[in-house]
Amino acid sequence: MTRKQRRLYFVLLGLVALGAASALILTAISDSLVYFYTPSDLVGKPQPEGRRMRIGGLVQDHSVIRDGKSVTFVVTDLTHGLPVTYAGILPDLFREGQGVVVEGKMGTDGTFLAAEVLAKHDEKYMPKDVADALKKSGQWKEPKAN
């Protein structure tokens, strides 16, 4: 084969090898690339005390209780819920039924002690009047849990 063809094959081979290696590495460390775990991920997996991690899901409806400077709520993925307490300022978009990611550590009593609360919003973009009309006509789709 010509030199040009040989060059082409080498480059392609190199790229395929690189792609395969990257895929393998990514699957291997995929667990730590996850930005957050869901409450279901935690079920049955006892976490070492004091280990810092992030949990994501939806703020369970009617679960937000403000108590002086701190607030408690439940993060749910519609299968399992995790109670959380937080003593800081909640972001603008934090509300019940909305996506949320909490970072902190697991407390001794099964409650998650959040050091940081971030709001996660979905990929839908629409004007307020369209949203209102959808809600009124009963066609409003709730956000998914992740």
Binding site: K4, V11, Y35, L93, D122, K124, Y125, P127, K128, N146
Partner: protein, 244 residues
């Protein structure tokens, strides 16, 4: 393809296209800006902060498109030794870097009010930052050698190796749990974005594309001229050393 290997042909093409691409860019970006800031409604949950999307998303798209172009051109340079491919890859790199930087900065300005933080190390943001590093690495590498051809070759290899990052960026929000939301426009089931907001987004996106073509043509001309200058200077040195 080898028809366009001739720089003179590229220069003629550039001359013909430039007025149209720049005119189109001005038109699309101008109307896009108006629709983005004035002629479209605020979002039901993000309010007016969502308008940042109209510069953030086109920047992200162009940062990725530019890199793919750079990778394809690098392959053409390495495999087919296409003489123009190297020059155009060099030309487009700084523009892609600028788009990517813009994407990160505008994203940060959008993330702070909406998420509650300027930055997170999730898969989407991290892979975009890696893209910026790849651009900067490429730009450093191509000028790191005395012989520009060796620099181009090294840069081409880096560009190709880094290309695996592009699907990672695109699918990061699907493959891993991220804070960044999933795709709104290019997804199964059609766009999840209201038409009144899709319009400014598309105007800005195509405006950014027309802008990129314009700048690429200009920088391509500059790279060709630089190449010719190098050759002429080399010839002059040889001529004078021969005592002409």
């Amino acid at each position: 393809m080898h028809r366009y290997a001739n720089p003179a042909r590229f220069l003629r093409l550039a001359k013909a296209i430039l007025p149209y691409s720049s005119g189109l860019a001005v038109l699309l970006l101008g109307s896009g800006l108006w629709f983005a800031l004035v002629g479209s409604p605020a979002d039901y949950q993000q309010g007016d902060s969502m308008r940042i999307m109209y510069v953030h998303v086109p920047s992200a798209w162009m940062g990725m498109v530019c890199y793919v172009a750079m990778a394809v051109l690098s392959a053409m340079a390495l495999i087919w030794k296409h003489p123009l491919a190297d020059l155009l890859a060099r030309a487009t790199a700084p523009v892609g870097a600028a788009f990517t930087l813009l994407c990160l900065i505008t994203g940060s300005l959008w993330g702070k009010p909406m998420w509650g933080t300027w930055w997170v190390w999730d898969a989407r943001l991290t892979s975009m930052l890696i893209l910026l590093f790849l651009y900067l690495g490429y730009m450093a590498l191509i000028d790191a050698f005395d012989d520009p051809e060796r620099g181009s070759k090294a840069g081409a290899i880096l560009a190709l190796v880094g290309a695996v990052n592009i699907p990672v960026i695109k699918f990061s929000v699907d493959w891993w749990n991220t804070l960044h939301q999933p795709a709104s426009v290019v997804k199964m089931g059609g766009p999840a974005i209201d038409p009144s907001m899709l319009l400014p987004l598309l105007l800005m996106a195509f405006g950014f594309k027309a802008y990129w073509v314009t700048v690429l043509l200009l920088r391509g001309r500059a790279e060709i001229a630089a190449q010719k200058i190098r050759v002429l200077r080399l010839a002059q040195v040889h001529a004078s050393s021969r005592g002409e």
